[in-house]
Amino acid sequence: MRVTLWPTCLGRQLFPGAGAAARRVLTRLGCEVDEPRAAVCCGQPAYNSGHTADAYRVAAGTLPALEDDGPLVLCSGSCTTMLARHWDDLFSGSELAGRAAAVSARARDFASFVVRDLGAEPRGMLEPCVAVYHDSCHMLRSLKERDEPRRLLASIEGLELRELTAPERCCGFGGTFSLRYPELSSAMADEKVDDALERGAEFFCASDLGCLMQIAGRAGERGVGLPGRYIAEVVDQAQASGERGADDG
């Protein structure tokens, strides 16, 4: 299957490992992966701040790069929500509305694509470790994808996945909220960091790079050992060591 993989702006600028891992996982699962080099941003930062015209300008600039056949896989639940839920509104009345709708209809979050569309359980194995999964609000409440990421992670041997005490609570990122109210946003992240540490997590795993940056950034500032990893990175590593394990065997 041919797949367009878009690591999104955060993936490009700050977390190049996320997109690279997603590409390797999808390739191993038999996909032929294309990356839309000219795609920039879905427009979400401005859209969520009420600057709709600026959001439109950016989204309209990116739209042509995403036009293709086949699934469009994003390394972000939040950008997937922007396309699937808000592009309709953002492009309404514009001449691009039809084209935007065609792109939106193809948009899938990485975990959902692997579990639902490919019907795959990538498996693999890791050295015994304990992790928690952080639900991003968009994944949980907009896309209703609570189980898909957990199923991906549960298929990994050696990984003990524990539930946070309050998995449904926002980490405080909120896009530009995190810059508008940094102290408040950090206080919200503290609860998440504490929750993960209390559950004995060695690292946390997320489907949204914004949440990842928020929680790992807070943990880093506090100097507590709680690295964050994008879900595809964990799966990729497990698959790789699974293959090595199989070779050794």
Partner: protein
Amino acid sequence: MTGSYDYAGSFAGRAGVALADPKLRAAVASATSRADGNRLAVLESLADAESLKDLAAEIRDAVLSRLDVHLDMLAETWEHNGGRIFFAAGARDASDYVARLATDRGITSAIKSKSMVSEEIGLNETLESAGVDVVETDLGEYIIQLAGDPPSHIIAPAIHMSKADVAELFSQSEGRALPEDAPALMAYARAKLRERFLSAGLGISGVNFAVSEEGALCIVTNEGNARMCTSLPPVHVAVMGMERVVGNFDELAVMLALLGRSGTGQKLTQYTTLLFGPRRASEADGPEESHLVVVDAGRTNILGTEYQEALRCIRCGACLNVCPVYRQVGGHAYDPVYSGPIGAVINPLLHDSPQAAELAHASTLCGACTEACPVRIPLDDLLLRLRRDYAARHASVTERALYAAWSRAWAGPRRYGAFSALGSLAGRLTGERSFKRLPLPVLGRWTKGRSFPGFTRSASSKEKR
């Protein structure tokens, strides 16, 4: 306590005050967690809570779409039951009417059960300046009235105070030390208020729902204070926001099933009082006069707009209890009357000011509020729309310029290429290391509390290592 919250200033400033108060944050976090846990547990007792929420939203929408008809009918039926009704366009009209009720009859002592709309219209201040001594009788309201605080939660107004705070407050007021013991403190307040209940000339209450076909008002409390306020004084006046109407008792039953469950995790609030005007000649107790004040105070500006869904609100407080922002800062950071997600929506709609408008940003748009709402108000969508209003009318020149510059730079691959090249350069210069402090405008705000992951040499999906 309120002295430190500056309502002419910004939400950020007030949030800062709250963040610096660990006692407040602990009290709010534990109380809201418990309330939300109770809500979820008790919703399970319904055969199908989600369908009931749909029905409740439909009922509220139908009422709002015919609000003129319902209000007209309510006036007829309430007067038929012997009640008097006054329609107040402005906040001042409403509070003046109540003050005149008292002064015309020579009443100097009033008792009041909790009413958010009375806070909104500044009723207590108007009564005080008319020489009427008014005492709040909901235990939480009694506490904050003594403290001189505004309410910090729609249904738990003293949620920001600990037991020790209350003990200290009562001790100060009484001039002797009272123990830090909830039953003892409650008994103290009960005795104090009992005297007032038995002697007051005017009883004031809010209204949870007016039932237009029946000429009935429904008021719920857990303490029984609304029963006192509407039964003991010779004159009763109820103050309601004009949207708080249902058509009949069937609709009321649906609303009450969700109100108790969503607000306090109860299948039904302890006392559900239905009032049909003043006492009948054949009755032995109850008020001789019963007045209803229907308040607009900005609500018509919401009616018929893209924000009308906000008027479905039944003031249960569930959205406050699930809100991760409210959890950190409590109610005072928002506004003296309405806080949490619903406050962030209706304050900007009721008051046209930059201070109120900023509240639309006091949310991560996480959507927990929308999910909890028993009448399906799309709170996060409404906040998003309000942010558009904010951007158009109140955003600073700097903010606009930043978004405009950003959208130009990111509008296409060519300019974005230059932007990326800058990032890669930064990545090369910094060796891709992460930062504790980022000396940059705007982005530098990130490092107020969080480390920054670091720029990358090559902005593409390559291996970082």
